[in-house]
Symmetry: C2
Subunit: 350 residues, 2 copies
């Protein structure tokens, strides 16, 4: 395994943050991996509360914490000087530091020196592992579902995590596979695909969802958009390397244009389905769409159910808002599609 | 301009190479930019002759040479110790060193020190410029043709260069735009697209063919293949960022599979045309295919003309081997297509 790997359990560092909206990373960790989050640490003035026990660095070290995870993003994406005393203390106590901020941790001399002495790691989840391979396109064992989207920021990570939660609840064998920095913190491993050199994107995607048992589902977090004027190359490499058996299209109801690219109308969901299949058959001829995951937060509450029902009728696919009712209709369709596939295969072989 | 830019004219360094096949870079420079190649410099034992005047570093410095270009590739792609005395002498004399080898020039202490003193640059054409932008998808002025391919190593660079030569001969205003290391050495500028982080591939491609006059053609060197299991992300980003008005499909007659990926049959030329248009319309709805450039070297001499004639009849496109008869039939088709386009536009506006 050559992906980034974090050492759990975690102490979530919140700096002196006062607004929850800037502590999204920490909140995401608590939402999806509550069992790995053992404590939170705020500096003077910090008021954000993720509902975890307050914990000092000394308590964390004594309690077997693996990593201090920086759970907040400061505007500008750097590490403020006021954080350094605590971070150095953590490193000296042997805790790894995990961050997805713009400044590289190893470029901060005090941290780098402390880490060299204690052996703790400074893990930048924005930095891909070294020596990634070129994609080989070989079929891997196990099954894969990829979330794709009509645009960026339409719920691709959230949907993959909700599918993991719901599939596990239904007794299925499933793992979320992270391709972006927040996802990597939540999963405890992964590769920031959009930071990988383009020659190695599909190779990195292959590492993300390695061989597995026949009943196992990798739920791969998608990136970008196949019709995105800036990021389609990322999406392409991730799709080809993930060789998904199934995919879910993520969409935000009411969005009309690529966010930040006002000259580019949003593709239709049908466009995305068609293009994803057209490209995906290269490495998995059995690829199929099993549902649509919609962020309906911009709709009036009373419009949400009709919107999803109409969409579902139009596409003949389960369409859900994962925040409202979970993803089970999609999982049922997925299982039906797989049963159908194996029945067909048996008939063919009989 | 944020592409790599080389300082001409050049002194071609040939080491102690004895086989022309390992001096392809130098030979390419002489073939396509003879006017910029003022001399060649071989070490003891070197027998490769590119037909340039022999020139010492001292003569080069006195004669206003801008760069010493390493024109040979050693197996393993490093810089042998035996080269260092001459390279350091060149740097001390103020010549830039240009290389596309695996070892980074600036990682060689003697070279780095000499360069810091003299102000000469150590230019690694495999290293993209820093701070590349994300693609914005905005329409640029001037016209662009991209070479695409059924696979890697099917003549995309050669075809773009042959088109440049033939268009200039026909009095057209055209420039080759390099996206790979050898191309960058030939063009004297460019960006090694496959080394760019995937988030910035289409942004880098946009920089490669900037705004220009209405009659100007950029002839963009393609990379990878849109059906390639390893490199399709590179191809995607380059296509979207280049926003080509026209493209030429490059192909090797007789190739049946993706070279090095024996499980992947080669796509048909029709597949490549269709997929390139399907993707390319995102940033240029007027994109069209204007011809096919075939490497026919694996065919028997007597089979070449019939092969091209049959292909041309099948596709209704000019199909040429640029090494045998040049690319003029493609350029004529290109001009006819553009005339047709502007006639249609005029009718529409009348």
């Amino acid at each position: 395994m050559k992906t980034i790997e974090l050492r759990s359990p975690y102490l979530i560092f919140l700096g002196s943050e006062t607004e929850l909206t800037y502590a999204k990373t920490g909140a995401g960790l608590v939402e999806w991996r509550r069992e790995l989050c053992k404590g939170q640490l705020a500096l003077e003035g910090g008021t954000v509360d993720l509902g975890l026990p307050a914990m000092s660095v000394a308590e964390a070290a004594a309690g077997g914490i693996g990593s201090l995870v920086i759970g907040t993003a400061v505007v500008g994406g750097n590490i403020p000087d006021e954080w350094l005393d605590v971070l150095v203390e953590a490193v000296e106590a042997g805790l790894d530091i995990v961050a997805g901020v713009h400044t590289k941790l190893c470029d901060i001399p005090r941290l780098a020196e402390a880490a060299a002495k204690s052996g703790a790691r400074l893990v930048d989840v924005r930095v891909p592992p070294a020596r990634l391979p070129v994609g080989n396109g070989k079929k891997r064992t196990g099954k894969r579902l990829l979330t794709v989207g009509t645009d960026c920021a339409v719920g691709k990570k959230y949907t993959a995590l909700a599918l993991e939660r719901d599939m596990r609840e239904m007794g299925m064998n499933a793992d979320f596979r992270a391709s972006g920095q927040t996802g990597i913190m939540i999963a405890g491993q992964g590769i920031p695909i959009d930071s990988v050199v383009s020659d190695f994107v599909s190779g990195a995607a292959e590492l993300l969802s390695p061989d597995n048992t026949a009943d196992h589902w990798d739920l791969v977090e998608g990136q970008g958009g196949i019709f995105h004027p800036g990021f389609s190359a990322v999406t392409m490499g991730l799709l080809v390397g993930s060789q998904p058996d199934a995919f879910v299209v993520c969409h935000e109801a009411g969005r009309t244009h690529i966010s930040g690219w006002p000259d580019f109308p949003l593709p239709t969901i049908e466009d995305v389905i068609y293009r994803t299949i057209a490209i995906g058959v290269l490495t998995n001829p059995a690829i199929s769409c099993v549902g649509v995951s919609v962020n309906t937060s911009r709709l009036k509450p009373e419009d949400r159910a009709p919107y999803l029902a109409e969409l579902s009728a139009r596409l003949n696919l389960p369409c859900v808002d994962p925040l409202k009712g979970g993803t089970k209709p999609i999982i049922e369709r997925l299982n039906a599609a797989m049963d159908d596939r194996s029945a067909k295969a048996k008939r063919f072989l009989a």
